[in-house]
Symmetry: C2
Subunit: 122 residues, 2 copies
């Protein structure tokens, strides 16, 4: 398979739905994904997976049971396995790069209308 570079800007231009992570890369046992978020997600945790959120555009509010953390462009947070969290946008939509094991379900231990069992590849 040929090796290609990936442009975050180009990939973010390929979709407009919210809370639907798209796979843009595969590295060892992990996926690189992009997601656009607006409003508030659902509280959940992942039993076995740490999850990285890197803000590419906008302002992300990561709600944790111990307090909130606000992230701007160029900032990331790693939410350790077992940690309840609930991401939300502050202001307009937020563009986020995710890195997480391929086994990660976006809503973790919760199944609801936000759950995406088979993320699209773009």
């Amino acid at each position: 398979m040929p090796i290609n570079k990936v442009s975050l800007k180009e990939k973010f231009g390929c979709f407009n739905d919210y809370w639907k992570p798209k796979i843009i890369g595969e590295i060892n046992d992990a996926h690189i994904k992009l997601v656009k978020i607006k409003g508030e997600f659902t509280w959940h945790h992942h039993d076995r997976e740490d999850e990285l959120f890197l803000v590419v555009k906008g302002r992300l509010l990561m709600q944790l049971r111990d307090g909130d953390i606000t992230l701007d462009e160029g900032e990331f947070i790693i939410v350790p396995k077992g940690t309840e969290h609930c991401p939300a946008s502050l202001g307009d939509e937020v563009h986020v790069l995710l890195m997480e094991p391929k086994t990660t379900l976006n809503t973790g231990n919760i199944l609801n209308e936000y759950t995406v069992t088979r993320p699209e590849r773009i």
Copy 2:
């Protein structure tokens, strides 16, 4: 351990040496690292590890045996395990975010003056 956000800009401001990856995050079995590069590295491959290079600033030349790929800010490349590669800067220094398994040695199968056996944490 408290959960903190990490600012790429702040972390890149913490060091000035070239080709010495710094660990800035730990996620599952992988490290998130930053590196500043200038000039040309050394040809090498990793037997077991895929490696992601995301350009945060500047222009990266990723030399592969099949041809060169030029990456600008906001672009990444995943170099699959077993693939010989040699990164280099184009123009001034390049700031790169790396994601790779904790077992990854920066010079892969090669041991030379560029080898960093115990990357610093910043």
